[in-house]
Symmetry: C2
Subunit: 268 residues, 2 copies
């Protein structure tokens, strides 16, 4: 039997509750300030309280020290989540999982006692971005310590080669985990003797930079020619920008955007 407390049932807390309830030997205690939230879930949990958890006495009264973990998700109430995490830490809860949106919020949560900080939106954003940039990638999972898992569509130059002949491990520093044949729904584990077909997708593990070295499939991806219709994006000189670039700018000119500067700064 495992026991968990979910303090705050915003989007993340509610989804964690749903996931935990898939398991048999699990008991969950929920606390939220919002009566509607508690009413929604009270019939499926072991205990449910409507309470404003900002008060330390309430955490001490309601949360047993023996629980396996507490999950904190007070939505956008950043300060409250920091206070509650600290109360749970002082109460001696051994595992405290807290949700954060920003790096700064996450850092403070760690300092005051969170053992795990989860950034759902940042993680999801990371996962979709590389596939948007690189047309060969269809899916992308960052793993701890610099490793990533990616689904990569192989260019047709691989068709007819075996896994050994393609030698992605040596040539690109990556390992193939599984292959999905063109048009198939499932990934299958393969032997080194497997012969790639046209349009195969591979599930690979490696460093992000290494995965990016797999050549992209050429079909359907039209690369616009460099230096066509571009304007210098910065004082550094002419760029390889394409004709596409001017579309946003022209629109902004017509419509009066608050800003149409070129994109050379980076936000942190």
């Amino acid at each position: 039997m495992k026991q968990f407390a979910i303090i705050g049932l915003s989007h993340f807390g509610s989804r964690v509750l749903e996931e935990l309830l898939q398991y048999e030997d699990v008991e969950v205690l929920i606390i939220d300030r919002d009566q509607r939230v508690i009413e929604e879930f009270k019939d499926v949990v072991a205990a449910a309280y409507i309470a404003d958890v900002i008060k330390q006495e309430l955490i001490e009264k309601l949360v047993p020290t023996t629980i396996d973990a507490a999950i904190v998700d007070l939505g956008d109430k950043t300060e409250a989540s920091i206070l509650v995490t600290n109360y749970l830490k002082k109460r001696g809860i051994k595992r405290i999982i807290a949700k954060a949106e920003t790096e700064q919020h996450g850092e403070i949560l760690s300092i005051v006692g969170a053992t795990d900080v989860v950034y759902p939106n940042r993680e999801a954003a990371k996962r979709i971005t590389l596939p948007l940039i690189s047309s060969a990638l269809s899916s992308f999972f960052p793993i701890s310590e610099g490793l990533v898992i990616a689904e990569v569509r192989l260019p047709d130059t691989f068709a007819g080669k075996t896994v050994i002949e393609a030698d992605l491990r040596k040539k690109h520093g990556i390992n193939i985990l599984a292959v999905r044949r063109h048009g198939a729904a499932q990934f299958d584990f393969i032997s080194p003797a497997y012969q790639f077909g046209s349009g195969d997708t591979v599930l690979v593990v490696g460093r992000e930079a290494d995965i990016a070295t797999i050549p992209a499939p050429s079909d359907g991806i039209v690369q616009p020619p460099p230096n066509v219709g571009s304007e210098p994006p910065s004082a550094a000189g002419p760029s390889a920008d394409t004709g596409k670039r001017s579309i946003f700018g022209r629109l902004a000119q017509v419509l009066g955007s608050p800003n149409r500067r070129s994109l050379r700064k980076r936000i942190r």
Copy 2:
């Protein structure tokens, strides 16, 4: 050069913008109703508009048909996100990524035109839940088509065995991708001749049920004895619940929880 439009910069949309801005040849157009949001980001994007995107004419005016993808994140405004997704589809945008919280919302987004539906909170909840339930797992990544990647701490019975001798592929149906030595920060790729040490963590790929068959490390995990101090949880008869179970119940009795029923229902 790739061009993207982010319609709505709630938590997910903002994180996607931050990720996209890491790349050089990317240009982003942002639209949000909230002036503060637009002010915050206007200096780092190619174009920024304060606009209520619920109006179809605005989408037609502001979003070029040539963009590579549009990202829709109107926060909790479910109906608005459905309308906007549909406008983008009718405008002919080839890739539309929309954020959803619930299954129902996601389904509708797909029907009206989203090519990708992202559930940040559900995905993060899935990722943390299995490690909370299974003490051998420290991290867990669901991959498409039923495959999962997991970090699993090996029990000490593996120490001294080589990868070939342990034969996790045959005995448990899973593939080892990399190993992190006890105390090391980095995962390393290994050869089949690698000899496991005490406390090694392996990164494996396989089906969820297969990964759960790896025996858990025994150290530090105390399993409470079955049938101690338990009360029958349902009419189905006595359970294997442990003494732990009664804690929430007793507390609820003292404090007057709105509910203290045993956890046997499942929410959907």
